[in-house]
Structures are given as C-alpha cells and as structure tokens.
Amino acid sequence: MLTDTTAGDQRVRALSELGSGFLSLITHEIRTPLAAATSSVELMDMRGHAWTAEKRATVLARMAASLTRIDAILDDVGIAERVASGRIEIEPERLLVSQVVRDSGLAVDPAHDEKPVLLRRELIERTVSNVLSYLTPETPNPPRAVVAGSHPSQILVTIDLGSAGAAARLCTPESRSSSLQLRLAELFAALDGGSLTVERGEEATVVATINLGEIDGG
C-alpha cells in the first residue's frame, strides 16, 4: 500500500518526467493532423466550388478525422497532467495482463501460470497503442502477442509486428522520444515506482518489459 509520502515522491518524479520535453512532444504530435486539417480546408477553399457533394463529404470527413485526432492528443495530455499532479486518481486494478492486451485488439498467448497483478490498465493500453502505431502490411491480422512473467514483479509482453524494419524503427531513440503514447505509458509506470521499457526482440518482435514497482511485489 502506498503512503502519502511515497505517493507524493513518485508523483513529483512523474511530473518531472512529464515536463521534460513534453511540450515539444505534444506540438510534434499535433503538427501532422493539423497539417492534414489545414490542407483540407485550403483545398476546399481553392477547389470546393467545383466538387460534387460526395467529394465535399469525403474531404470534410478527412478534416473531421484530423481534428478528432488533435482532440484525442490534447485529451491524453490533459489526463496525464491531472494524474501526475494528483488532481485525479486512476486506481490500479488487479488485472490479467493478457486480457488487457486482448482487449486492445491483439491475439494473445498467455503464460500458463499467469496471475492477476495490481497495475493501471492505462499502462498496458498505451504501451500496446504505441506499438500498434507501427503496423505494416506484413503485420499479422490481428497482431500476435505473448505475455510472460519473468519473475514475480516483472511482466514481458512480446508483440509480433511482422516486419523487422518496423520493429527496429519503433525502438530507435528518436521514435521512443517522439511517441506520446509511450511517454504516457512510462508516466503510469513511474507513478507506482515501476518502469516500462520497449526494446527490440527477436526477428520482427518488440518486447515491452513492465517492472511493477512497489504496488505489487509478488
């Protein structure tokens, strides 16, 4: 059980992580959907008068998708900031990691002796979301994952991307530092004194290693 002091220390650490380079990360994430939205607006302005209703609807849908994406990014950041500052609490739950991974859309082979662990669902969901942003035509549909506990306070989630290139790309320092989802997942891991690393596995796989911290030591 966390004491207030421990929780406070961890939050300070998490906030520090949050602040470090976060603003540039957010602006980086937003630029692409913003470019898509503004380009669609310009196209409509330049050529919309000659379009059919169907064409206009397609471009509007494209614009809406981009704005929804921006909205989601800002939402994510807002939640993360509020959690880190203690204004809201996302309670950890006792979860089967393989079930959370399955709920995120992957086909999972769980460890035969998997036990529920106490952690925040957000940590797993955002880790998977980061990995799935590197889907390629070679990725199996649905993507396959294996969940294993290497020791009582550590869980390994191995995801097959189907492309060694995509796996390598995902694990470059640049990709890691520019992924909002991964940074948020790391935040949730840090809140509990744990950690998250995502590294290249064998062939076309990546391995997310979750160290559970002090919430659940075994």
């Binding site: 898509a36 939205a37 503004t38 380009s39 196209l43 050529r47 494209r62 942003s133 590197y134 390629t136």
Partner: protein, 370 residues
C-alpha cells in the same frame, strides 16, 4: 521536365495528410503515393518519379533511411527530394540537408508552399540536366553518323590493301601509297572527331559538376598569347591558308584555364577558315576593354542567317547538303559552353555571304583588374 507529366511520389504515413497532399499536387502532376519509406522504395523500383515529397517519421522505413537509400543508388542519386516534418528545429533541418535532401517544409504548411517548392525543384532539375541531355543527344544523334564515315574509310581502304596483298600480281606501290594515305586521312579525321567530342564532354561534365558551386580562380597567365599566336599559325598552315591569317594578341592575365582559352581560339579560327574561301582574310585579335579580354575572329566567308545563329547547337550543321562540312558541329557549341562556364560573353555578328565576326570576352584575372 517541368510540365504536367512530371511524376511526384508522396510518402506519408498519415492517410488524411497523404490524400490532401496528393490532391493539392494532382492538378499539375502525376501522383504516386506510399505509406512509408519501404513502400516508397518498392514503387521507385517500378517507376522512377521526377521528385519525392516525404515525411520523416514513418513505420518500417523512415524518411531519413529512405533518403539515404535513394542517395546511395546511382539511378536515384540526383532525384530531387523534399522532406516534410513535424520537427522544425535547426538540428533536424541540418540532418535532412546532410543526408542530401533538396528542401525541407515544416508542418503544417500552406498548399502554395508545397507547390512552390515542388515547382522550384523541378525547374532546377531541368536546368541541371541540360548539359547531360545535350551530351546524350550528341552521343545518340550525331556521333554514330560522324564516326561511321571515317571508320568506313579506314576499313574500306584496309580491305583494298588486303586484296592487293592477296592478289597474284605484284603490288603497285603507288596504289598502295594512295590507299595508305586514305587510311591515314580517315584515321586522322576520326582522331580529330574523338578529340572534339572528348573535349565537348569534358566541358559539359565540368559545367554539370560546378553548378551551384563557387567559381574557382583559374588564370591564363600573360605567356599564353605567344602560344596562341603559334597555335593560330599552325591551324592556318594545316589548310594552306597561312597567307590569309592576320593574328595579334595583347598580353594580359585572363580568368580562364589556359587549355580552354586555347580551345576557344582554335575552334573559332577553324570555323572561320572552314567557312571562308582561300585567299580571303581571316583576322584574329585579342585586346583588353573595360576589365575584360576580348578575342575577335572575323572572316569574310559565307556567313549565317539570324536563325542559324540562334540555332547553334552541338549536332547542328547548317546547309549541310549544300556545303558538306565534316565534323560534329560541336565547335561553336563547345565555345558557348566554355563562355558560360567562365562567366564570359559571346557575340556573333553575321550575314549570309558577308562573313562572320565572333567576339568572345572573359573577365581579366583579379590581379590584372587592380
């Protein structure tokens, strides 16, 4: 080529943005699109685009890795590449340029920015390719024909000598000497053609490789003038027109390689002698005017019309059916290229049947100008 048939490859993993960019460009160009660097390279294997517009952060293969691959292959090394990125920091821009990108557009951007960047890159590519296209035209159009004639002469008369040797009659020395002389003449003509072509290619290659770079500082030092006089006399003697030549050069340091300067004088004089009648005067002078060295070659030969002057090119010979002239028509075209290369000037005054005056000028060397 900068026209509606130029093909642009758009590489962007965000489908909405990829569609928007493609639509912006589709009004003016053919568009291919790819969702990441790997897909882009697969497309390039099948169809070589005229320009690539690429995001940087993408799954499977990033824009940076794709750019490195494109620059590492001979067939795509000079393909224009414009990078799009959510990173506007100086380090990212510098990294793009170090990898060989031609331009960088930060997101978000206006449609006009993208269009302008694409247009500008395609225009530049067109200009850069011109010396190479000219060389290719020379190779494919005029070279085979021009080489074939003297080569046929060599082979033909060599064949006749073989026949002479195989015949039972004793060899007629006079006939043998005549055939050998013809082989010699054809071989000499062939050698001259090879030299002309090689020099033309050298000038074009130098022009292509030095585009966009700072000009070097070549100098033809004062001593070049006596060599130039000797050269001019030798050229005139070769065609028995030594008596028709008047040559004088004022001594000065000129900002051009000595070899190229000698070539300019040689080509202009050869043309003047070739297109004028024996017994008519050909004047070659060199003088300093307003910080420049002017070389003037004047003849009173058959001259050229305005259209002919305008159409001077490496494979064009005027009125070939009426006035058969051997050669590739490279002489004046090479001189034009050299003038361009050394920031000089060229002026041709000519009228049909009234002779031609060609004036080329080059800047004096820096020390000379002081």
């Amino acid at each position: 080529m900068v026209d509606e048939t130029s093909t642009i490859l758009v590489v962007e993993d965000d489908p909405s943005l990829r569609e928007s960019i493609s639509e912006i460009l589709a009004e003016y160009y053919e568009i291919l699109s790819a969702e990441d660097g790997k897909a882009a390279l697969d497309i390039i294997e099948q169809t070589l685009p005229d320009l690539i517009l690429s995001d940087i952060g993408m799954p499977r293969l990033s824009g940076f890795d794709m750019l490195e691959t494109v620059r590492g292959r001979r067939e795509t090394a000079s393909l224009p590449v414009i990078m799009l990125s959510a990173r506007g920091d100086r380090e990212s821009v510098r990294h793009c340029m170090e990898l060989g990108a031609d331009d960088y557009i930060p997101k978000p951007f206006k449609a006009e920015e993208v269009l302008r960047a694409v247009r500008s890159r395609l225009s530049r590519q067109d200009v850069l390719r011109r010396p190479i296209d000219e060389l290719q035209e020379t190779l494919s159009l005029s070279l085979p024909h021009e080489f074939r004639t003297p080569l046929n002469g060599v082979l033909g008369f060599a064949g006749l000598i073989e026949d002479l040797a195989a015949a039972p009659e004793p060899i007629d020395k006079a006939e043998l000497a005549e055939f050998a002389g013809q082989i010699n003449a054809s071989g000499t003509r062939l050698l001259r053609l090879v030299e002309k072509f090689t020099f033309h290619a050298r000038v074009l290659t130098k022009a292509y490789s030095e585009q966009g770079t700072s000009p070097k500082d070549p100098v033809s030092a004062k001593g070049w003038t006596s060599a130039a006089v000797e050269q001019a006399r030798s050229i005139a003697s070769r065609v028995d027109r030594g008596e028709d030549l008047s040559v004088s050069f004022v001594s000065a340091d000129v900002a051009i390689d000595t070899g190229f300067l000698a070539h300019v004088v040689g080509e202009l004089l050869e043309n003047a002698l070739a297109y004028s009648d024996p017994g008519s005067l050909v004047m070659v002078t060199g003088e300093v005017v307003d910080g420049h060295y002017h070389i003037v070659v004047a003849d009173s030969g058959r001259g050229m019309s305005k259209e002919q002057v305008a159409n001077i090119g490496p494979y064009v010979q005027f009125d070939r059916k009426i006035h058969e002239q051997q050669g590739l028509g490279l002489g004046l075209a090479t001189v034009c290229q050299i003038v361009r290369l050394y920031h000089g000037d060229m002026n041709i005054e000519s009228m049909p049947n009234a002779g031609t005056t060609v004036r080329v000028s080059f800047p004096l060397a820096r020390e000379e100008r002081r």
